[in-house]
């Protein structure tokens, strides 16, 4: 399987969109392109299983290496392990749902779909990169489309939110940049510096430099995944963004950060990861608790989901910080689960908003009577968010908490207990929102005349729900997919401990 196709297909789609005319052509092309991505990601999963069951145990599959900037030893080096495959699957699910949800996006449609597809290109490139220069390149590719998507098609104080998001993410990537360059100059692969992830992981970087550059890389990636106290772009960005952009932001873009924290910061600088683990756990516990309580106070549906994303992404960082195999598997599962769930949530909110023209919980009510399908979608997303068994949220959080508990340190266990307790708060705000917006009496008589979900919205929600339920009912396949990657990270961490 040629992984570069994952970059070429979105690129070709984006160029085709530029040449198209009119909404119909543009959205058809976007749908064809994203369906292609979807099928390709499923094909990748299949090819990956085939290789693994054939006994191929190498760390990364389908590798391809091309010397891009030879004098600086920068390579276009790509390959996937189970962690990247699960991220690519997530991206493909969210992209196709995002395109379907924006089906009626008429205002500047060409630019809109172009940017959506371009954003997905950045995400795919990021997840398949095995060279940290290439990885950084794709990380930044994904920043500006978000700025334009929010600033042009957003609502509310969109310019402010767009600028805040772009600057904070750029600050994150500036920190990542310093971390990566610091790593680069501390490597020595055959007498030259290297950006190669595999090569760097095989050598030992001295502990002083690890401790110096780990915070840069981890905080930098952490900004993307709402690490406390750098989470402030999340609520503004998500609530101002158009529906598809919110889905992309929460579903894909925040995962870029989590993946980077795991793959680059923790994997390449294991000693520092161990040294800084208490701080990571402290910050992520604060994010979990703070995010959950901040959500309680929100009255706008999008703000509710945005703040709950802060809380849920805190779980991801908590799992990474705990540094046990199960907790890392849980963190990756949480990324996938949260990506699907939050995309579904934003899709449902977008559908409700486009009909009722309000997102305030207090003004909504009784939607189940008038738009039952959309309301059901909303309820499913909510139940997944609060971790009901049968949905992906339960599986991911369960794995994560089990893994966290395995870390025997009493303070870590305290953090685990606190994080578990936050689920109760989640249940409170989700059930309250569902109860008052979906159930109850019809608050506004206009609501009686609303049309229910159109075919594209049903399809979008259906695809995401299939993903959620597939993980929720049969979590084993995802677990098995992630395990080898997590084992490699653990082995590396273990080696780091023994070197001390």
């Amino acid at each position: 399987m040629n992984l570069s196709a994952l970059i070429i297909l979105p690129l070709a789609t984006a160029i085709a969109i530029l040449l198209a005319r009119g909404l119909k052509q543009v959205r058809t092309l976007a749908l064809i392109g994203s369906t292609g991505q979807f099928l390709m990601s499923l094909g990748l999963l299949w090819a990956y299983w085939k290789e693994r069951s054939a006994g191929n145990t190498s760390q990364f599959l389908f590798e391809f290496d091309y010397a891009w900037f030879a004098p600086l030893n920068i390579h276009y080096h790509i390959g996937v392990d189970g962690i990247s495959v699960s991220m690519i699957l997530l991206t493909a699910f969210v992209v196709i749902a995002g395109v379907l949800v924006s089906w009626a996006q008429d205002n500047m449609n060409k630019e809109f779909f172009f940017l959506l597809i371009f954003l997905s290109l950045g995400a795919y490139g990021y997840f398949i990169s095995l060279d940290i220069f290439t990885l950084f390149f794709f990380l930044e590719v994904a920043v500006i489309p978000k700025f334009l998507l929010i600033g042009i098609w957003g609502s509310g104080k969109k310019e402010y939110s767009a600028m805040k998001l772009a600057l904070m993410l750029m600050a994150g990537s500036a920190l990542v940049f310093v971390g990566l360059v610091g790593l680069y100059f501390n490597t020595d692969v055959n007498g030259a510096h290297s950006f190669d992830l595999v090569a760097i992981s095989k050598m030992h970087i001295d502990i002083a430099s690890q401790k110096l550059f780990f915070p840069f890389a981890f905080i930098g990636f952490g900004v993307f995944t709402a690490l406390f106290p750098f989470h402030t772009w999340v609520p503004d960005g998500h609530s101002s963004a158009p529906t598809a952009a919110s889905m992309f932001l929460a579903g894909i873009s925040m995962k870029l950060g989590g993946y980077g924290c795991l793959r680059v910061a923790t994997y390449l600088m294991p000693d520092a990861a161990q040294a800084y683990a208490p701080i990571i756990i402290l910050l992520s516990t604060i994010a979990i608790i703070y995010g959950a309580f901040a959500t309680m106070m929100q009255t706008d549906l999008k703000y509710i989901n945005a703040y709950s994303s802060v809380s849920h992404c805190g779980f991801v960082l908590l799992g990474i910080g705990m540094l046990t195999k199960t907790s890392i598997i849980g963190a990756v599962m949480q990324m996938v689960s949260h990506g699907l769930m939050t995309a579904l949530f934003f899709a449902a909110i977008g559908m409700i908003y486009s009909r009722t023209h309000t997102r305030m919980v207090a003004q909504l009510g009784g939607l189940l009577k008038s738009i039952p399908i959309i309301s059901t979608v909303f309820v499913i997303a909510g139940l997944c968010s609060l971790g009901l068994p049968g949905f992906s949220g339960f599986v991911a959080e369960m794995t994560l908490f089990m893994g966290s508990w395995q870390n025997a340190d009493q303070w870590y266990r305290l953090a685990t207990i606190l994080a578990c307790a936050s689920i109760v708060v989640t249940a409170v705000y989700i059930l309250r929102a569902v109860g008052s917006a979906i159930m109850g009496p019809v608050r506004d008589k206009h609501f009686n005349n609303l049309t229910d979900a159109s075919w594209n919205e049903r399809l979008a929600a259906g695809i995401l729900i299939i993903g959620i339920v597939a993980i929720g009912i049969a979590p084993f396949w995802l677990n098995q997919l992630i395990t080898p990657g997590a084992e490699h990270i653990m082995e590396h961490l273990g080696r780091a401990v023994s070197m001390k």
């Binding site: 900037f69 004098p71 220069f133 930044e140 590719v141 700025f147 334009l148 600028m163 750029m170």
Partner: protein
């Protein structure tokens, strides 16, 4: 000797030939229409650029006064390409101007001056080239004769330029007094870092600082850029600055190599100041020309970071960045110049909702600004990344952390322009502009350059293969 003389100096001869052709036309015929002259000049400059790519040799002439090698030829080609793009862009401005021929004669004289300056193997030759490249510039900075701001700009430029030349000359004479030679190769063997040499070197840096408008020698830049016609401004900010940067690198890396520690510290301070001040002032600007002036000051700060690397990567990344800078800055100036020539508007507020009527120009401007801000996949990302990598080669992570943080500040003001173009509402946006063919071609070249120079690693590898090790 005979053919050597022709081939080694082929680029100088080409430009001089173009100047003579233009002079003959001036003397011989008053009938030629402006359009015809402009098209002719564009074709000649294109030929100049293309011929510059062939018959590259290494060698010296006139007792090492003049030297050339593939890197120098490549640098000259970058300048020729930039001049060609500027000539294409100047079309809509010069179409109705009375003195088209004089403009190009003066402009190309400065280009010859720069060529000699880059090829200098001797401080005297360097100084002659520098003067030839700056005095005619003052004349063309005043080329909108009826505008008072233009004359003010020209006057400021000539005075600051004369002052910096004075400083440079003082430095040169001190160095001559200390070592008894002006040849680069001999100078590097004689310098040993005694205090008087350091003093001479500081004068040198001050002189160069004026020319490349590094803080604290930048005060003339904004006024001159604002007052001068857009084409001249873009020439000043790209070609003239690029040429001086090329020489600056080669002089630092060869002549002043013995006192590398001294200049490393000086560059460190200068680059930090230049980035910070340039960026902070750019935030406050309303006039797009002033805005680009301060942004170009900040860019010089990044280039100085790259120079401070003192390595083969350093010199390669500077040449590479200047090439990218030619495309990105000329793309931005091209749009600004076109809008200014066709509608007379130059303020950021006038650009609100620019996208509504001029989507193509908006995207060109946006891509150029993204490249200046260093956003992938534009070439600016690669240029900045490589500059900072070579800067970090010395192990100074503080410097690159400051530079990386400055990139955020610079992104802010570039995004402010993007926001005005794409997002801000405006009841009275700029009308749809009819773009003549040659500026269109120029913008196309810029965008193609911005997209391809970065992704095609061949360009960097080629420049790297030419660059000599430190």
């Amino acid at each position: 000797m005979g053919t050597d003389f022709l081939i080694l100096m082929k680029q100088e001869w080409m430009v001089i030939a173009i100047i003579f052709i233009l002079m003959f036309i001036k003397i011989g015929s008053n009938e030629w229409k402006n359009e015809r002259i402009l098209n002719l000049v564009n074709i000649l400059l294109l030929i100049n650029f293309i011929l510059g790519l062939f018959w590259n040799q290494e060698g010296t002439l006139f007792n090492e006064m003049y030297k050339t090698n593939p890197l120098i030829v490549a640098e000259k080609n970058i300048l020729s390409l930039g001049t060609y793009i500027i000539a294409l862009q100047a079309y809509s401005w010069l179409k109705n101007h009375q003195h088209v021929l004089e403009f190009y004669i003066l402009l190309l004289s400065t280009l010859v001056g720069m060529f000699f300056m880059i090829s200098a193997g001797n401080l005297l030759m360097f100084y002659l080239g520098l003067e030839l490249s700056s005095i005619p510039l003052a004349a063309i900075a005043n080329f909108d004769l009826e505008k008072r701001k233009s004359s003010e700009a020209a006057f400021k430029f000539i005075i600051s330029s004369a002052f910096s030349s004075g400083l440079l000359l003082f430095g040169i004479s001190l160095i001559y007094g200390l070592t008894g030679t002006l040849t680069f190769t001999e100078l590097s063997q004689h310098l040993n870092g005694n205090p008087l040499e350091i003093f001479a070197f500081v004068l040198f840096i001050a002189g160069f600082g004026f020319k490349i408008s590094a803080v604290p020698f930048h005060l003339w830049t904004a006024d001159v850029y604002e007052g001068a016609p857009v084409s001249v401004t873009s020439y000043l900010s790209v070609i003239s600055k690029g040429a001086v940067l090329f020489v600056f690198v080669s002089i630092l890396y060869t002549v002043f190599k013995p006192i590398a520690i001294t200049w490393y510290n000086i560059l460190f301070i200068l680059s930090v100041l230049t980035m910070i001040i340039g960026n902070l002032f750019a935030i406050r600007q309303q006039n797009l020309k002033r805005f680009l002036a301060f942004s170009s000051i900040a860019q010089v700060g990044f280039i100085l970071v790259g120079i401070s690397g003192a390595s083969r990567e350093g010199s390669a990344s500077v040449v590479y960045f200047v090439l990218i800078y030619v495309f990105s800055n000329l793309g931005a100036f091209g749009v600004v110049g076109l809008v200014s020539a066709l509608s007379g508007k130059e303020n950021i507020d006038d650009y609100k909702s620019f996208y509504k009527n001029n989507p193509l120009l908006s995207w060109v401007l946006a891509i150029s600004l993204f490249s200046l801000a260093g956003i992938p996949p534009t070439a600016g990302f690669f240029g900045k990344f490589f500059l900072l990598i070579s800067g970090a080669g010395q192990g100074n992570y503080l410097l690159i952390t400051i530079a990386a943080l400055n990139m955020i500040v610079s992104l802010y003001y570039y995004l402010k322009v993007i926001k005005a173009i794409f997002m801000d509402p405006n009841d009275n946006p700029i009308e749809k502009l009819a773009i003549p063919a040659s500026p269109k071609l120029a913008l196309f070249i810029c965008v193609a350059g911005i997209v391809l120079t970065g992704l095609m690693s061949y360009v960097y590898e080629y420049i790297y293969s030419l660059a000599t090790s430190f």
